[in-house]
């Protein structure tokens, strides 16, 4: 437990040196998306025949989904190249394993750090949403833990995958074939019900659709399926991801 905290302490020490650059992106990205899609596209929708999406303005519909999807993208960014660097390019993990720290400590520290990182991004995003005036209920603050869970649900399996890679060629493939399609089609920009039946089934098998649905119901009310299932699916990805990462990290680092 102490060892896990030591690894997390290291991450925080590095973050203290690098946070400023990331902070700008954390604010700029949601502002750009909400302005362009929410306000820009949203004003067209408001003038069109439908006027609202799911009973609210397009901006209010979009914002919770974007919050959850940002967690997915943060997971992708944090758990691909940085993990490769620590495994192979800078060999940070080898350095750590020459001390009393164990693989379990490394993994625990990474999980803790990913949760912290996700929380920072989600809180930043939430602040932007408050500024845009899309937060109308106290319950909406619960979108933050929902986003963190979604970030872990994507991050841990991706970390497990990264630990199997010797080159970085696999990462753009994940980006193109999983992250980007889910971002565009996973219920963030329009209701999943608009998708063909098969695509709907696939979408509901991913953590993103559930996290988007849950975040949206927290933000604008209205039930969209069972909250328990919306939590259970991402949680399953987290548990499986931890187990898988434990195996792949051990295989990679202890020979």
């Amino acid at each position: 437990m102490i060892g896990t905290w030591r690894v997390l302490e290291h991450h925080l020490m590095v973050y203290r040196r690098t946070w400023k650059g990331g902070m700008f992106v954390s604010f700029a990205s949601p502002i750009l998306f909400l302005a362009a899609m929410g306000i820009g596209l949203g004003s067209l929708i408001a003038r069109g025949p439908v006027r609202t999406v799911g009973g609210v303005s397009y901006l209010a519909f979009l914002a919770p989904g974007l919050l959850a999807a940002t967690a997915m993208q943060t997971a992708f960014v944090e758990e691909t190249y940085p993990i490769m660097a620590k495994l192979q390019w800078l060999r940070t993990y080898d350095g750590m394993l020459a001390t009393p720290l164990t693989i379990g400590n490394l993994l625990g520290g990474e999980i803790g750090w990913l949760a912290v990182r996700q929380a920072i991004t989600a809180i930043t995003f939430f602040i932007v949403l408050v500024i845009f005036g899309t937060v109308s209920s106290v319950a909406a603050v619960l979108m933050i833990p929902v986003a963190v869970l979604n970030g872990l649900a994507f991050g841990l399996p991706i970390m497990a995958f990264s630990a199997t890679q010797r080159k970085d060629k696999g990462f753009p493939v994940i980006g193109r074939f999983i992250i980007t399609p889910l971002f565009l089609l996973g219920g963030v920009f329009f209701p999943i019900q608009r998708l063909p039946q098969l695509a709907q089934v696939i979408a509901w098998l991913t953590p993103l659709a559930h996290s988007v649905a849950l975040a949206r119901s927290l933000a604008i009310g209205g039930s969209n399926g069972s909250a328990a299932i919306h939590l259970a699916v991402p949680a399953t990805y987290v548990v499986v991801g931890i187990a898988a990462a434990g195996i792949t990290l051990r295989r990679r680092l202890v020979q």
Partner: protein, 314 residues
Amino acid sequence: MAISPSDTTALIHARGLSKRFANLVAVDAIDFDVDRGEAFGFLGPNGAGKTSTMRMIGCVSTPSSGTLSVLGMNPITDGPRIRARLGVVPQADTLDMELHVDENLFTYARYFDIPRDVARRRAKELLEFVQLNDRAKDEVEPLSGGMKRRLTIARALVNEPDLLLLDEPTTGLDPQARHLVWDRLYRLKQQGVTIVLTSHYMDEAEQLCDRLVVMDKAKIVASGSPRSLIDRYATREVLELRFKIDAAPALDGKLEGIADRVEVLPDRVLLYTQDGDAAAAAVHERGLQPESTLVRRSTLEDVFLRLTGRSLIE
């Protein structure tokens, strides 16, 4: 598989120690002991099994068979407890490029659960020891190779280890940087730190090691002090002759009887003898015209050549 720590006073005790990978025997049943306070070397070419052996001692690689005890404990079951008392300088530096020089030491000290104030004080002392105190607040990346190496050594000392493991500590450094590293390691040895190092540099092993083993193709082929190995496997002096390219085959037989042993290498001919100058005179008497002659003392390189028929750096 019989791996258990045995009753021994040696800091490291290995019998029949082996490491096999899927299609490769990296270490093949080696025996050695390292005693407290000595500097012990694994010498051999790349791929001889030195690093695999070091990784097993460092408890990051599990022996395939044989007995290994480190600090009286079993590396398989007591890994974290053993590592708490080791200092490890890996072949490739694993420094934190995002952190400053002193932060690298501080964060590493924390992995050993060293309190913050002690960690800070030790970081300062160690940077003085490796002569990097004026770079304490600098980034790591712009440091020279020798400076990074010294920082890695300082980092390995942050827990005041009983046993310091160095895997090729000066490979890739320029001569000046190497001597600075050697000087620091020599001081540590004087302070009583037990040092285990790997190298493919003869001069490094001769300078630093009290005792060493020569490894080749996963096996130990000789062991002893540098001096005793030279006495046993080489002569007192070596006469090196360089001939014009392609002249060597024409030498056939002409050097017979001049030296105890003759070794014909692609670029030169080595004559092992008790008296190099006398041998050189004999060569000239026979009418041979080498482009250059050099008389030198035998080194571990000659021992290795004798044992394996190959030079160490290939």
